[in-house]
Amino acid sequence: MAAPKIEVKYTQFTLPNGLRVILHEDHSVPMVSVNMWYHVGSARERTGRTGFAHLFEHLMFMGSGHVQPGQFDEWLEAAGGDNNGSTENDRTNYWINVPSNSLELALFLESDRMGYLLDTMTPKTVDAQRDVVKNERRQSYENRPYGQADITLGEMLYPEGHPYHWPVIGYMPDLTAASYDDVVAFFKTYYAPGNASLVVAGDIETANARSLVEKWFGDVKPGASVEPMTMPGVALAGVQKKTVTDKVQLPRLSLAWLTPPHLAPADAALDIVADMLAGGKNSRLYKRLVYDMQIAQSVSAGQNSQALSSYFLIEATPRPGHTVDELQKVIDEEITRLQNDAPSQHEMERSFNQIEASFYNRMERVGGFGGKADQLNAYYTQTGDPDWFNEDLGRYRPLSATDVQAAAAQYLPLGRRVELVVMPEGSK
């Protein structure tokens, strides 16, 4: 099968206040998605205020100058709409999905919080969402098996002071310390239209959608520009080793390496490396640990691509009666094998085909997290070109087996990595 050619037609323009806008028509269902990215994430936080970008994301749903608390959700629900937002290290995104006849309501709400958030913000609002976010932390980390270890992993990979050192969810004392004044300063610094990009996609008519965007976002005042983040490269000096305990039945081994940032040359090759190691039953680690030897309950591998620095993570859970040391020995054998011998053409082709199919699958949905609107905004943010689908796909097929071998050899050294073990509480 020929490599797919994906076409996502769009219109792009910039408002005088600096807001970049991308419009895309898809009339398959009578819905429209309004998708906003602010180019700020937890990496912009300062010491003592970790978790703030995410806490701020929560505040964006609490009303704005012309929207009383609670009305944001009530009005959208009355229109048959859904909405959500998410925060990562490098960005914060928001989406509203509505039936297409309520596009203007979505634009009104999205523009009002961009232009007038502080008009209704009070210390009480901050307190209320602080409690919610603390419970999000309890639910997603403290009360979740292996949740605390996921935080420890980031701390071990990135040195203190590096903006990826702390978790997006933040530390409890920092959440307690976050103040109303912090909210004002953060909004003024990072939530200006020039630091954001807006995608409106779905059942729209481009000219009409454009005039509605101009109508609702035209009065939002421009803000100061934000300098792009630059960070000196980071590297691990040797093996960083740690054992922590958790209330779990089985141990877990995490091996992690610092790897090149998203879209850097080796980034795509490392996606293939991950697939060779743990994508599917015939992948090297799954086949040996889970299928043949049956000493592991599960194994996963992934290149976690981020703007400043990525990390490659292998995780494995031993079956009862087996140890993380047994798993680590086999994992290291397989990494070494991939470093010494290029993978077969069959393995390469299998990976390419799966990656290409995944690009089709991403075309099926317009709204929500990971829909076409979100992807257009991601590509725009990362490359300046919203329709970067074919270029992204084009990163993979030209890779040779020796490229994949070389990426494994260069970026997964056994002597420079994080080795984190979670042991069940009370075990020896």
């Binding site: 323009f13 408002l15 009355a78 006849n101 009104f108 299998r350 089709y360 099926e364």
Partner: protein
């Protein structure tokens, strides 16, 4: 190219923005919606293969992918008594060897095509599902057909999945929401009803399955008369029918009706009871409040959708606004009716911070009682619009549509169901909502389950006086005990309720209990609790050696962290007196 397009667009935008800046938008009222967009539902084309297998097709030409599901109308609810988990294991095994292909060959062929192929079971149905780029459909269908029609159930693959599943059960003890889900079902339905046990089954059933068990279940359920094919995606029926015919048309297998289990009626609780599952040091308490709800066939389906949306089915629902937005006790709270062929559970649920557990329960009951009162018109209108207006958005992807078709087939929804859906919701009245709330929400009879740090939460919960409190129990009896007959101990399983484990040891009153595992003496029996002691013993598994390892395994997930034993007895205030067992043991009665 990119840059030029960008600059050109900027110049144009400048002109129009000047115009709009002169007319700042009116933000005093939210913009009103335009006329509703036309709702065009996908057309379902119904055909048949030469063996009678029905085929439902929906064409979607947006993306060159296709979804093909072989849907079997038997699920975990059809597991025979004593074989809970057989449906789930049978479907999982389909991909582990089929036709002339081994498990690894199936996976390799599927992955090489960039396809997703999965076999799975839900409560009321099983399915083999394929999602594939349309250019690879012809290559993928024969593999799918092998998996669905010609599974070989290899013994060594069964052993592998068996160990994997036993480990899954072990890991389920780690996750409080999973613990809560399993315990809530067990409390409502009991161990004999299929809904009272995890879809995977129990440790005892998983340990016992043989390839013949799987073959028998497969033969009884995977047959053309109990199956339908669904095709959704970028294909024309005339093109795809010959492909389906060649892969599935000659499937004759067994004809006739498939075996279907009839689930016993499960009685609703008569009074409110509180169940605590201890999870020491938990940062949150997982709360489940409810009882047995309604089957999917309920005539009250639409009013229940609206009522539950108001109570806990949307972000602006009362439970979420109260527990999350007003009090900040939880990250989120909600409620839901799990509708199945038979009545599934209704539960209001949340993870709440440990030190606000009692306060949260109070707010739960405020809302559960509040929903019985008349609903304000604007809240009712909002809920109806939320459910009705987003309905068309649920037909966006091949996966979305195939799931809707599966529902229609499994639950025998009328042909007009989708086209009438919006009207059916809009027809719900305030009186309907109040009627179904009063019928299906009876807070005075609800089961309350809390999985959390018992030491910290129990006093507060007791003070609420909601009802009798029950906790998980481990019951031990010795078979030849002449003082406490084991059948009498067994009767306590009914009295205690909740999550009860019963273990019977060999020997008598003293020797049965005091039986150090290292000596490898005597034996014990284990098995899922049944209604009657004799019946239990018939089905129990005879295990050699001491019963103590069972007790230790039970304790592990219920206990806190291990602490080191003191190196020497006594401390500064209380000095050790003498070596064990102590002089009082040796004293002779005068």
């Amino acid at each position: 190219m990119m840059t030029r397009r960008f600059v050109l667009a900027t110049a144009l935008a400048g002109l129009t923005a000047v115009l709009s800046a002169q007319q700042a938008p009116d933000r005093t009222h939210p913009p009103q919606p335009g006329p509703p967009p036309a709702l065009t539902l996908p057309t379902i084309q119904k055909r048949q293969l030469s063996n009678g297998l029905p085929v439902w097709m929906v064409e979607m030409h947006k993306v060159p992918v296709v979804q093909v599901n072989l849907l079997v109308f038997s699920g975990t609810a059809d597991d025979p008594a004593g074989k809970f988990g057989v449906a789930s294991l049978t479907t999982a095994m389909l991909e582990e060897g089929a036709g002339a292909r081994s498990a690894l060959e199936i996976a390799d062929a599927v992955d090489f095509l960039g396809a997703d192929l999965g076999a799975g079971t839900s409560i009321d149905a099983s399915a083999v599902r394929l999602h594939v780029p349309v250019a690879r459909l012809a290559g993928a269908l024969p593999i799918m057909a092998d998996v669905a029609l010609r599974p070989t159930f290899p013994k060594d693959e069964l052993e592998r999945l068996r160990r994997e599943r036993l480990t899954n059960l072990l890991q389920a003890r780690d996750d409080p929401p999973t613990i809560a889900a399993l315990a809530f079902s067990r409390i409502l339905y009991g161990p004999a009803h299929r809904y009272g046990t995890a879809m995977l089954g129990t440790g005892a059933t998983i340990a016992a399955f043989t390839p013949d068990d799987l073959r028998a279940f497969y033969a009884a359920t995977f047959r053309p008369a109990n199956t339908a094919l669904l095709v959704v995606g970028d294909v024309a029926p005339d093109h795809v029918m010959p492909l389906l015919e060649s892969s599935f048309g000659s499937w004759t297998a067994q004809t006739g009706a498939a075996a279907h289990a009839t689930l016993p009626a499960a009685p609703e609780p008569a009074r409110r009871e509180i169940y605590l599952v201890d999870k020491p040091d938990a940062a949150q308490s997982q709360v489940r409040i409810g009882w047995i709800g309604v089957p999917r066939s309920t005539p009250d389906y639409f009013p229940i959708q609206v009522m539950n949306t108001i109570l806990g089915g949307s972000f602006s629902s009362r439970l979420n606004m109260n527990l999350r937005e007003k009090h900040g006790y939880a990250y989120g709270a909600g409620s839901g009716f799990d509708m199945r062929a038979s009545a599934g559970p209704f539960a209001a649920s949340a993870g709440v911070q440990t030190d606000k557990t009692a306060e949260s329960l109070k707010e739960f009951f405020n809302e559960l009682n509040g929903i019985l009162q008349p609903i304000p018109p604007d809240e009712l209108a909002r809920a109806k619009n939320y459910v009705a207006l987003r309905f068309p958005g649920g037909f966006e992807t091949t996966g979305d549509i195939s799931r809707k078709l599966e529902d229609a087939l499994v639950y025998h929804l009328p042909d007009t169901y989708f086209s009438q859906y919006v009207q059916s919701i809009q027809a719900v009245t305030a009186a309907d909502v109040q009627r179904v709330a009063q019928k299906y929400i009876q807070p005075g009879r609800f089961v309350v389950l809390v999985v959390g740090d018992r030491k910290k939460i129990e006093p507060g919960i007791r003070a609420l006086n909601l009802g009798a409190i029950k906790i998980p129990a481990f019951l031990y009896a010795s078979r030849e005990d002449h003082i406490v007959p084991w059948q009498t101990v067994y009767a306590s399983t009914r009295l205690i309720g909740g999550d009860v484990t019963f273990v019977l040891g060999g020997s008598g009153h003293i020797a049965g209990v005091i039986n150090p595992p290292a000596k490898q003496k005597r034996n014990h029996w284990v098995g899922d609790v049944r209604s009657d002691a004799g019946d239990w013993l018939t089905h129990a598994r005879d295990v050699p050696g001491s019963w103590w390892p069972e007790w230790i395994a039970w304790l592990k997930p219920h206990a806190g962290a291990m602490v080191a034993a003191p190196k020497s007895p006594g401390n500064r205030r209380f000095a050790a007196i003498e070596a064990a067992p102590g002089r009082y043991v040796k004293a002779k009665a005068p």
